[in-house]
Symmetry: C2
Subunit: 184 residues, 2 copies
DNA sequence: TTGGATTGTATCTAAAAGATATGTCTAGCA
DNA sequence: TGCTAGACATATCTTTTAGATACAATCCAA
């Protein structure tokens, strides 16, 4: 995503929940947005510096020497909302798993079968993670106003993952029954 | 995806189906892999040059002056298979739509509703595209040995898209019934 | 008390996104 | 016949991102 500064948006949003250090921003993005977002570590400090220069965030002394707490300014909050309201230009997908299946003829039916089985197992584990997270967020009382929105995104993960499992089961059945079609 | 040269794999695979020009490689990736892969235009020519230098592809005169047809060498085919067999290290997701919903409290319930409706409409259109493509590939006889693998990836798209529609319907119903929970 | 895990800041390289420049060939049409 | 719009084709450039890595302080536990 050149030309878009999506990192800025993610950092602003994360600081919008509560003030924190750059390190904590990284941890929050990894732990809370990890299912649909990732932030390259090396981008966070330069982005914080740019936001500071623009006046979108403020820097305060942290709890230990050398550490800094960043918090949103009023301008930063306005900018966050304006960025959130802009249409999302989706980043191009690069799904190496699908690429491998598409060229499955070169890979051979056995290797493809193994890939699909792997994908199904990973999806099952993933579903369990989503379900546990769902229950945890539902019982949490710290961020009541955020909670329903967080549940929406978790529900999206559950739907997608269940679909992946169903597709994998169906595909494995097809690989078994039409074995002759999947020649190398 | 630093450190991975996924472009090389995609280009090798595309040339594996039949020899073509750089321009045609780009078109094939856009038209055939577009649902799960995208190749940055500016990467294709440098990648072809690198593959040529390694001896993985050969360059021949094209149909018109100045154009070149690239084809896989034996070494290139071996390398393609070896890359296909390597485990796929998934590229990190950056889903701006989910990011916006996660921070939906800052965006407000009405804007979120509009986003979900938009996503549902886009998914419906997408499903129609997948279904048409499914029928088309099924009736095609040019690439019989590739066909079943291509259908597997199309089926994955259909499953995912149906799940997205179901999630959107469910989410819209929730936004209507629990209106009070989604305060700004 | 040492040593491993966590917190915290910062920089570097390589790869990718996407815009853009440039030129040729072909088909339609005025 | 000449013109022009659009497809074909190659190539380069800048900004953003991925991901590795370096370095140091602090905390905790064996």
């Amino acid at each position: 995503m050149a030309r878009q500064k999506q990192t800025e948006l993610a950092v602003l949003c994360t600081l919008g929940v509560q003030p924190m250090t750059g390190y904590a921003v990284r941890a929050a993005i990894r732990d809370q947005l990890g299912f649909f977002w990732s932030e390259s570590f090396g981008q966070i400090y330069p982005t914080l510096a740019a936001l500071l220069a623009r006046g979108d965030v403020e820097k305060h002394e942290g709890t230990r020497p050398g550490s800094s707490l960043y918090s949103l300014t009023h301008a930063g909050r306005l900018r966050m909302i304006s960025l959130l309201e802009q249409p999302d230009s989706p980043t191009p997908r690069r799904d190496g798993f699908m690429l491998r299946l598409f060229f499955g003829r070169s890979l051979g039916p056995d290797a493809c079968r193994a890939l699909v089985e792997q994908a199904r197992d990973r999806a099952r584990q993933q579903l369990a993670v989503y379900e546990a997270l769902h229950a945890q967020v539902e019982s949490e009382t710290d961020y009541l106003q955020h909670q329903p929105y967080w549940l929406i995104t978790i529900s999206a993960g559950e739907h997608t993952t269940r679909a992946a499992i169903a597709w994998a089961d169906e595909t494995l059945a097809k690989l078994d029954s039409d074995r002759d079609a999947y020649v190398r």
